[in-house]
């Protein structure tokens, strides 16, 4: 046949009459039973969820954090590059000018008075993180929590800015790597995915 085939792994199956052993079902049932009983004694793959949590991948992209620097000042300068980079148009920024006496709050002369990310629009692509020139926005290892109403998914500065007095967040926030090296896996278990 001159039918074009992408691979030559195609097999033509023809329905044939069952042999006697097949038609009495019993050998097949028996071998099936042997297969299932082997699984009976196998190690179980269940993860006991609330007690045991599967670790996320090292490059997992979760909800965002707006970073502060070592002196506790917000990094963001409201340049809007993240909003431009965002393919889902999830980020809304209103800029404001730093007043005298606010130097301990904001690192640059301009800061974001309003910084909102709509978590229902966000696709967690991480492009905002890549676009930011001020190391201000990062995607953490935390998932955005579920909620009942739409407006609760618009995360303002109250939810996004890194809490005062914390440096690198102990547990949930991704370690901060600023070179272009790809992340090194310590124990490459699930790298196939």
């Amino acid at each position: 046949m001159s039918v074009l085939s992408l691979t030559n792994r195609k097999k033509v199956l023809q329905k044939r009459k069952l042999t006697f052993a097949e038609s009495i079902y019993l050998p097949a049932i028996f071998s099936g039973l042997m297969i299932t009983i082997r699984h009976f004694f196998r190690r179980k793959s269940t993860v006991q969820y609330p007690e045991v949590k599967k670790p996320f991948s090292k490059v997992f992209r979760g909800r965002h954090i707006l970073k502060r620097d070592e002196q506790g000042r917000e990094n963001c300068t409201a340049c809007g590059l993240c909003a431009v980079a965002c393919p889902a148009e999830a980020i809304t920024i209103v800029a404001a000018e730093r007043k005298k006496g606010e130097e301990h709050l904001y690192r640059e002369e301009k800061y974001a008075a309003v910084y909102e990310i709509n978590m229902l629009r966000c696709i967690f692509c991480g492009l905002c993180e890549e676009a930011c020139p001020k190391d201000a926005i990062y995607l953490t290892e935390e998932t955005a929590p579920a909620s009942y109403s739409r407006k609760d998914f618009i995360f303002g500065k109250d939810k996004l800015v890194q809490p005062l007095g914390t440096s690198a967040h102990p547990k949930t926030f991704k370690p901060y790597v600023k070179d272009n090296k790809p992340y090194q896996y310590k124990n490459p278990v699930n790298t196939k995915i």
Partner: protein
């Protein structure tokens, strides 16, 4: 005389409690076994190993809303599950749970009643059980339920025949229909070899009969691969589509009671009931021996219940025409052949 009555009533209560208890824990076991066969763990939140899960399920079913469809026949709708449950529980009356206990010289039978047609009684009661399904399915006034009920009854009729025929060969050998007799006969020596005492089990004489019996038992209990009456994929829920609350609970529960009873039947008809091989060599006190026998019987029953589940989570369901073909064209001729072979065997060994 009165003390006899009290003892009997006590035994009835115990058997009742054991049947229900085993059925309740079969529901948990089913979920555990299915989980283990699929590399999961199964319910383990209610108590350790999910020990309290059946209670939680029961309480949940009790508190569910009770719905009787507007166009259903109310009386029959309620009668269906009750009948199914009652017949499921009635069968356990003739099963001999052990040798008679020796209560200071007086022998106490561990069997509720020894009817001389015990096997026939079981068959009669089991075949009434299908009315529970039939009535429930018909009274629901729902086409899925009716289809399920129809399937259940035609399946019952077809497989009851083969099952009865497979038992006939066994009865020809034992010469008695009393279950007590049949079990007692299996305590002898296998093939007359004096070493194999207590191994005179019918399975060694009737392997084909047992095979037919077990296939039919699966069909009678509506278990996979013959669970067409409730086949979720085609019939929503089959005959219990319209049922809710504890009436649904009764249907589901009676299935497990049925499973328990047919496991007990298989164990006592073919696997020697309470007989334990080589037990007499240990020279135990008589009552201890009885106790070990009862334990052995329950071990056999539990193995068969496990086997029911093992099969369920291994093979898929038959198609309806395959089911009928298997019943009429394969099992019934085989059962008749088995009767002939048994007859020849009996003549030759006489």
């Amino acid at each position: 005389m009165e003390i006899m009555w009290i003892e009997k009533i006590l035994l009835v209560v115990i058997v009742f409690a054991i049947s229900l208890g085993t059925a309740a824990y079969s529901t948990l076991a089913e979920r555990k076994v299915s989980a283990f066969l699929q590399d999961r763990i199964g319910p383990n939140r209610a108590g350790i190993f999910g020990i309290l899960q059946p209670i939680a399920d029961g309480v949940k079913l009790f508190f569910k809303e009770e719905i009787i469809p507007a166009n259903a026949d109310r009386f029959l709708f309620v009668l269906g599950p009750s009948l199914f449950m009652i017949t499921a529980l009635m069968t356990s009356a003739v099963i001999p749970w052990g040798k008679p206990l020796d209560l200071g010289g007086r022998m106490f039978d561990l069997q509720v009643t020894d009817i001389n047609i015990g096997v026939l009684y079981v068959f009669a009661v089991v075949s009434i059980g299908v009315y529970g399904i039939m009535i429930g399915g018909w009274a629901s006034n729902n086409k899925y339920s009716l289809m399920g009920a129809l399937r259940a009854s035609s399946q019952m009729i077809s497989y009851e025949l083969a099952m009865g025929l497979s038992i006939i060969a066994l009865i020809m050998m034992s010469g008695s229909m009393s279950l007590k007799e049949i079990v007692a006969q299996q305590s002898g020596e296998l093939y007359g070899i004096s070493f194999l005492k207590g191994m005179n089990w019918n399975i060694f004489y009737q392997p084909l009969g047992f095979l037919i019996f077990i296939v039919c038992a699966f069909a009678e209990c509506n278990r996979t691969p013959f669970d067409l009456p409730e086949c979720e994929a085609e019939l929503v829920g089959g005959y219990h589509t319209e049922y809710s609350s504890m009436k649904l609970g009764l249907y589901l529960f009676a299935e497990y009671v049925n499973m328990f009873v047919s496991s007990a039947m298989m164990a006592s008809l073919y696997f020697g009931g309470y007989n334990v091989p080589f037990l007499e060599m240990l020279n135990l006190p008589y009552n201890v021996e009885v106790f070990v026998g009862v334990l052995a019987f329950f071990t056999k029953i539990i193995f068969f219940i496990f086997f029911f589940m093992w099969i369920r989570w291994t093979i898929p369901r038959f198609r309806y025409d395959q089911l009928m073909k298997l019943g009429w064209k394969v099992l019934i001729p085989l059962a008749i052949l088995n009767i002939l072979l048994t007859g020849f065997g009996m003549i030759l060994t006489k």
